[in-house]
Amino acid sequence: MEGLLQLLFNGLSVGAVYALFALGYTLVFSVLGVINFAHGAIFTMGAYFTYLLIGGAVGANGLLAGLQFPFALPFWLALPLAGIASAAVALVVERIAFRPLRDRGSDPLLALITSLGAGVILVNLIQLLVGAESYSIPVGTLGSLPAALNIAGAKVRTVQVMLLAISGLLLAALSIWINGSRSGKALQAVSEDPITAQLLGINSSRVIQIAFGISGFLAGMAGGLVGLSISIAGPYFGIGYGLKGLGVLVLGGLGSVPGAVLGGLIIGLAEACVPADLSGYKDAVSFGFLFLVLLIRPQGLLGRPQSNKV
């Protein structure tokens, strides 16, 4: 029983981060119909921002070697600030990699390339500035919380509980925003039918910016959380999440917000179920799901079917 509970906690806490990550993908996909390949890089930025804000020092290899902020914020404050900074980065990505294509009426698939270009720039910028070494966020920044909690006999890391709690909070806030606010409803309208939305007077450029902003905020927070629970394994560490996020996205259904959450939790749990002697194959779980879903039910668990227009 304890083992099962442990497994559940491990899986759900990883899955919650996947869900946060995939939500950013899905928000952008729902308004633009393309994948933002810079998303993994924005996630990475979030992790580094968090590290700097808690007072972490830059190593010896980058241009900014030895840099350290004169203050050290507690994690609960550093994380949302890092999310805001990541949102700003996402807005810049939208401005340089997406908007020019829209203004020129180019093939939307080109955004795959331009966003990747933006991602390459971001990742290498990080490398240039702070070097390629890995960093970790000390658990001490959580304050006086104990390192592990005992829940119904299972020993659970506090960090995992935090991951779950923060992710749950963000997901709830997001769904309240989408269903309850004016801008959230505008987002839904644009994702249903951009042309009609425009006719109804919805400023789709504004909605797209909002989608990117929130997407970047969530990615940045996810980056900070992973940095806390595992570590920041160098500038490239977001790419793996970026790819797994695709699996989450497809499993839940492209463009579906509840789908991204469900997909994240399922894949997190499935990865946690991979036995230790096969742990090398863990990374394939997400892609295996992805592949199967595309073949059996391309619209995903909660997505809408692809339209086949005549």
């Binding site: 119909g33 393309v34 994948i35 390949f37 340089i96 990699a97 020019p100 294509l101 020129r104 180019s106 093939d107 698939l109 080109l110 795959l112 390339i113 331009t114 990747l116 270009g117 933006a118 991602g119 390459v120 720039i121 290498n124 910028l125 490398q127 240039l128 790419i239 790819l243 695709l246 699996g247 996205l249 497809v250 492209l254 090398g280 194959y281 990374d283 394939a284 892609f287 295996g288 992805l290 592949f291 595309l294 073949l295 391309p298 692809q306 005549v310």
Partner: protein, 302 residues
């Protein structure tokens, strides 16, 4: 120019062609690095584990390389035939994501299998050529052959069918074009080119590991085509040559080079939405080559 860099550029051009073939048919497949990795693994395994292929001379026989290429083509071709039937039912971004997943699954499996050398890969792949220049000459001949085949393909029945599917799949089917088979043909040809290229690359690089067929490679090779242009074979060749050379040519700017590379991928599609080599440019290029035979002898196209 450094022959080693030239060889890398030529391999880049071949990979560009591999991404281009399905894209010319309107299919955004990112499976090229997967088939490239299979080709490389086939070459690495055969040349290091099968003593009969090593020959008696000091260098590895070219006939053995050709045999590896044939086997790699057979394997990737059969695999693409089977996978293509399944994945080509997907459209647009869905096909792209499915092929990314294929490449990643393959990478993880290669990484974990004993006989592919795991994370370290396979070392000491024998050399059929003494110098990088030998590789470059061999690869140039291969590239020329494949360009010639692509040129013929484009001008004829399957090429027209591919272009029609890209413009409007439904209308193409209404003209009697077997769209499923045509897309499959493009996918299989793409796999063959990637597999054969993998064989050459494995020998050239001397070692082979799972990292060579990863997601980065998917996107870089796609960038070759998007940057160069996807309407004629010259586009991906141009894009592959230039973008492979770029990070090396930018070496003087040091650490900034990958940032500049990213900027090129970012800005390229904005200024050249159809790629640098548009069909009009291609036609005038061909006219110029026909007009001056000496230029043809020295030029890219044999």
């Amino acid at each position: 120019m450094d022959a080693g860099l030239l060889e890398q550029m030529l391999l880049g051009a071949l990979l560009g062609l591999s991404v281009y073939l399905p894209l010319r048919c309107g299919q955004l497949s990112l499976a090229t690095p997967g088939f490239f990795a299979i080709g490389g693994t086939v070459a690495a395994l055969l040349s290091t584990r099968v003593p009969a292929l090593a020959g008696s001379g000091s260098t590895y026989p070219i006939t053995s390389v050709l045999l590896e290429m044939a086997l790699a083509a057979l394997l990737t071709g059969v695999l693409a035939l089977g996978l293509g039937r399944v994945v080509l039912r997907l459209r647009g971004i869905y096909l792209a994501i499915a092929t990314i997943a294929l490449v990643e699954i393959l990478r993880v499996v290669t990484l974990n299998l004993e006989f592919t050398g795991g994370a370290l890969g396979i070392f000491g792949i024998p050399q059929p050529f003494d110098s990088a220049a030998g590789y470059a000459a061999f690869t140039l001949a291969l590239l020329a052959l494949i360009c010639w085949l692509c040129d013929r393909l484009e001008k004829n029945r399957p090429g027209r069918a591919m272009a029609a599917i890209r413009d409007d799949e439904l209308a193409a089917a209404s003209q009697g074009i077997n769209t499923a088979d045509t897309k499959l043909l493009a996918f299989v040809l793409s796999a063959l080119v990637a597999g054969i290229t993998g064989v050459v690359a494995a020998h050239f690089l001397n070692s082979w590991n799972a990292k060579l067929g990863n997601f980065d490679a998917s996107i870089t090779t796609l960038a070759f085509v998007v940057f160069g242009g996807s309407r004629t074979w010259l586009g991906p060749v141009f894009g592959g040559l230039l973008l492979t050379a770029l990070p090396e040519l930018l070496r003087p700017v040091g650490d900034l080079r990958l940032i500049v590379f990213g900027a090129v991928i970012l800005v390229g599609p904005l200024f050249f939405p159809k790629g640098v080599i548009t069909p009009e440019l291609f036609k005038s290029f061909k006219r110029r080559i026909r007009g001056t035979p000496t230029a043809a002898a020295q030029g890219v196209k044999p």
